[in-house]
């Protein structure tokens, strides 16, 4: 279909009125640029917002206790209770389809009072008592040494894994970190590892100012005993946590003598649900992007359609001559269709390239200027590019169809008579 001869025919025809061709091409160029940019910006927004979820396994929930709101089995309302370490084992054994159940305890807070001392340096950090699985829920890069292990849990070793912010606050530059001791709330801990959050966005400083110690050590050293502050529960990938969380709540209620209908006693945050909500929002935004982009593109396509109509009109006589020389109607139609197709696809692909350039510039500005809240890495996938290509092919054909038909509707003898 596209022999060399056809190409030269098409290029000659498009070249015959170069300025007009350029102007027409600009419509489609602009439309597709807008389309791709809109999708890229939506994506950037999505990347930025979902980054706020951290890298935390999204099929997860956090569960803590609140005071009871109903009396039950002789116990008053307003009673406070704590999860115990045995609850974790019970959840693991009785609720199927759970991947990780991590009990957690926390000491100190971000920007709280100083709670860690090393020599003459002090700092305020978040200290968490955790199980080794936690690194699977909250991915982090171990920069030096190791993360917590089960032997740490079992023997209640006083060791800790510290964030880069902690290293910065308590150590001199270049100082060896592993094997040194830091004093957390008056208790000495051996540093066995340093970490940074994988792909952390937004909460960098807070994430970096974190210290992990074994959960059991935490309980003993800071007087929490068997109490569990809260739990981070992750379900298997194919089972939404939202569908099984009620089972977990029911189990906890029965183990802690909470009225079965007392929904206030157990507080939780369903990450999967929130994440799903946000994902839904961005699906809609993407749809809007396509819609608006397509509308802009359509005006470009109508431009091509118009110009091709004018071209056909202008070349009525030429078409008559071509037919006198032996061109069949289909050859003429094919030529017009291909001209419109080539024009559309060329300008469209230029638009995609231009949009890619803009995205690239945006990304490099973002890289240099540091993070912007709720916006990161605007980009489109190859899939979008292919979708755009398909849209272009279809619309190029549509744009050429009416003019192509118009071109051959006139009898050659009438076409030749036109001046």
């Amino acid at each position: 279909m596209f022999s060399k001869d056809r190409w030269s025919e098409i290029l000659e025809a498009l070249n015959a009125n170069r300025f007009r061709t350029l102007l027409t091409a600009f419509g489609v160029f602009w439309g597709i640029t807008i389309l791709v940019l809109l999708l890229a910006l939506t994506n950037g927004l999505k990347n930025g917002v979902t980054a706020d979820f951290g890298n935390f396994a999204t099929n997860s929930m956090f569960m803590w206790t609140q005071g009871t709101s109903k009396p039950y089995k002789g116990l008053p309302k307003g009673r406070r209770f704590n999860y115990k370490i045995e609850d974790v084992a019970a959840i693991k054994s009785e609720i199927p389809n759970l991947k990780y159940v991590s009990p957690r305890n926390q000491l100190g807070g971000f920007r709280g009072a100083n709670n860690v001392i090393r020599g003459t340096k002090t700092g305020a950090f978040e200290i968490y008592g955790d199980y080794p699985e936690y690194i699977n829920q909250q991915p982090m890069d171990i920069l030096q040494g190791r993360f917590l292990s089960y032997s740490d849990i079992n023997t209640k070793r006083k060791i800790c894994v510290i964030g880069t912010g902690v290293v910065k606050g308590l150590y001199d530059k270049g100082e060896e970190v592993l094997g040194t001791y830091i004093k957390i709330n008056g208790v000495n801990f051996l540093v066995v590892g340093t970490f940074k959050m994988s792909n952390s966005q937004g909460d960098d400083e807070q994430d970096a100012s974190t210290i992990y110690i074994p959960f059991t050590t935490f309980g003993q050293a800071f007087n929490r005993g068997e109490n569990v502050g809260w739990m981070a529960i992750t379900a298997e990938d194919n089972v939404p946590i939202t569908t099984i969380k009620q089972q977990v709540f029911d189990l906890m209620k029965s183990r802690h003598k909470v009225h079965p209908e007392d929904d206030r006693a157990i507080g939780h945050f369903d990450l999967a649900e929130q994440f799903g909500r946000i994902s839904g929002l961005f699906s809609i935004l993407t749809l809007v992007g396509y819609f608006v982009g397509a509308l802009v593109l359509i005006s470009g396509i109508i431009g091509i359609n118009n110009i091709m109509l004018i071209v056909v009109k202008e070349r009525t006589k030429e078409i008559g001559v071509r037919r006198a020389l032996g061109a069949t109607p289909w050859m003429i139609k094919g030529q017009i269709l291909q001209e419109s197709l080539v024009l559309t696809i060329l300008s469209g692909m230029l638009g995609v390239s231009f949009a890619a350039l803009v995205i690239w510039i945006m990304n490099s500005i973002l890289d240099n200027a540091g993070e912007v809240e709720n916006f990161a890495n605007p980009s489109v996938s190859m899939q979008v590019v292919f979708t755009a290509l398909i849209i272009l092919v279809v619309s190029g054909l549509l744009a050429g169809l009416i003019p192509a038909n118009r071109a051959t509707k006139m009898k050659p003898v009438d076409a030749l008579r036109v001046e």
């Binding site: 006198a324 069949t328 109607p329 050659p412 003898v413």
Partner: protein, 221 residues
């Protein structure tokens, strides 16, 4: 054309033998262009038959008409009708392009016909860079390119001055001497005298059809 249809030709019966050079004359409105259009399959007669080289030309759809035009006919127009963004060579090779001839051969053959009309040196010029006579000679080369059975010339000298007209007629006579059948529509008597037979039309009927003593155009140049 619906209600305002007009019978232009009212019974034309004539045949042209291979190798003839016929001029069709008549005042405007006599139907000579319509006759030529029917012969050129650009238009179709309401009634009657048209047999070209033993092939009855009837029930044409556009595809077949295009094929016949390409194989059997070469057109020469009053206003040349060259495609203005194509070089002389490309213009001449167009019928071959539609015939499906490969590029290389097409160019060779087109070049051959350009040489024949004496414009080989102008092959890469656009029509706008050629004089009227040169344009018409390119158009003649184009009409010859697909080696048609019949050349149909509609007022081929109508847009040319006398001297150039004679040059073009000399070329047409030369082509006819080589055996090509040519029909020329004209209303100029001197041009008609340069053909071998004059068919005179008036109001859609032939009023005169006679062989003439051919005047060689070269005598005038």
């Amino acid at each position: 054309m619906g209600s305002n249809s007009l019978h232009v030709l009212k019974g034309i019966n004539f045949d042209v033998k291979a190798g003839e050079l016929v001029s069709i004359m008549g005042s405007s409105g006599s139907g000579k262009s319509t006759l030529l259009n029917i012969l050129g399959m650009l238009d179709e007669a309401d009634k009657g038959e048209y047999i070209l080289d033993n092939v009855p030309i009837k029930n044409l759809n556009e595809k077949i008409a295009a094929k016949y035009r390409n194989e059997f006919l070469g057109f020469i127009f009053q206003s040349f009708n060259l495609i203005n963004y194509k070089s002389a060579l490309d213009n001449v090779s167009m019928p071959l392009y539609y015939k499906g001839v490969k590029r290389k051969e097409r160019t060779d053959r087109a070049m051959h016909y350009l040489e024949k009309v004496g414009l080989a040196e102008w092959s890469h010029h656009l029509p706008s860079e050629l004089s009227g006579g040169q344009k018409q000679r390119v158009a003649i080369a184009r009409a010859l390119a697909s080696d048609p059975k019949v050349l149909l010339a509609d007022e081929p000298t109508g847009a040319l001055d006398t001297k150039t007209s004679y040059e073009v007629m000399e070329l047409i006579q030369g082509i006819n001497d080589e055996g090509k059948t040519i029909l020329v529509v004209t209303h100029e008597h001197d041009i008609a005298q340069m053909t071998k037979r004059i068919v005179n039309l008036k109001d859609g009927v032939i009023i005169d059809d006679s062989k003439v003593e051919q005047v060689r155009a070269s005598q005038h140049v």
